[in-house]
């Protein structure tokens, strides 16, 4: 394990811990998901660059496209939540269920 591998593994685990432990804002959870996706992008790119297997280097681009899909769907959910509940706090989502 090189320090670079340790860096992206620890960022992935930190993003996962932030997603699991903090549920105050919906946007905070989405940002933690984005951080996890970013560390996955770095991981796939490093796989390409360190092993010098350049035919693999289109896979980080495809991962970036799918990550854009995930981010836009999450932000649409955020907008929908702000329109129905007035805020994006997750505490208010299970309050006053109707």
């Amino acid at each position: 394990m090189t320090p670079v591998h340790f860096a992206f593994s620890s960022t992935f685990m930190l993003g996962l811990a932030g997603l699991a432990f903090h549920r105050y804002h919906l946007l905070s959870a989405l940002l933690c998901l984005e951080g996890m996706m970013l560390s996955l992008f770095i991981a796939l790119s490093l796989w390409t660059l360190q092993l010098d297997s350049t035919t693999f280097s289109s896979s980080p681009m495809l991962l970036l496209a799918f990550s854009a899909c995930e981010a836009s769907a999450g932000l649409a959910l955020l907008v929908a939540t702000a329109r129905t509940h007035g805020t994006d706090r997750l505490q208010s989502l299970n309050l006053l269920q109707c």
Binding site: M1, T2, P3, V4, H5, F6, A7, S10, T11, L14, G15, A17, G18, L19, F21, H22, Y24, H25, L26, L27, S28, L31, C32, E34, G35, L38, F41, I42, S45, L46, T48, L49, Q50, L51, D52, T54, F56, S57, S58, P60, M61, L62, L64, A65, F66, A68, C69, A71, S72, A73, L75, A76, L77, V79, A80, A82, R83, T84, T87, D88
Partner: protein
């Protein structure tokens, strides 16, 4: 170069600690900007300038503008920065965890060795990652078609979710 690489890696981890320690969304988006910039530095250090440029332009240019807009939507009157009490607690806990795990691996990793792509082609016009990404248009054409289809599908998902309360996928019952 080794020192710069260690500095960039440390800032990369520190930026994600700043995102994960649950500050207000404005500051978390700022931390994500730092993480993306440092990730560009890591990729440049490994000899992938095209992937780094794609990350910088697409990620920082496209996604973070949208996140800033949504942070304005989810505004709160008393934002919590990294100076307030619970955020500082989480930051200290996360940093201590990272330092402990890195101390566990400290003897095992090969110190300051990283391989970079095209090590001998310093002055060449085409880097390896650029050629690899260009392969997406010839041999990986079906994956390009699939990802374009997924993006189109996501457009309809977003339009359906944000349509309104009267009709559509999400409505007031």
């Amino acid at each position: 170069m080794t020192f710069i690489m260690y500095l960039v890696l440390f800032s990369f981890v520190l930026g994600l600690v700043a995102v994960a320690s649950n500050p207000s969304p404005y500051f978390a988006a700022l931390g994500l900007v730092v993480v993306a910039g440092m990730g560009c530095g890591v990729l440049v250090g490994h000899g992938g300038p095209f992937l780094s440029l794609v990350l910088f332009l697409i990620y920082l240019g496209g996604m973070l503008v949208v996140f800033a807009y949504s942070a304005a939507l989810a505004a709160e009157p008393y934002p919590e920065t990294w100076g307030s009490r619970p955020v500082v607690t989480y930051m200290v806990v996360y940093l201590a965890g990272v330092v402990l795990v890195s101390a566990l691996f400290w003897g095992g990793w090969y110190e300051s060795s990283w391989g970079s792509a095209d090590e001998l082609g310093e002055f060449s016009m085409f880097r390896g990652d650029m050629a690899g990404v260009a392969l997406m248009y010839s041999a990986g054409g079906w994956m390009l078609v699939i990802s374009a289809w997924v993006l189109l599908l996501t457009l309809f998902v977003v339009l359906e979710l944000t349509r309104g309360l009267s009709r559509g996928a999400l409505r007031a019952v």
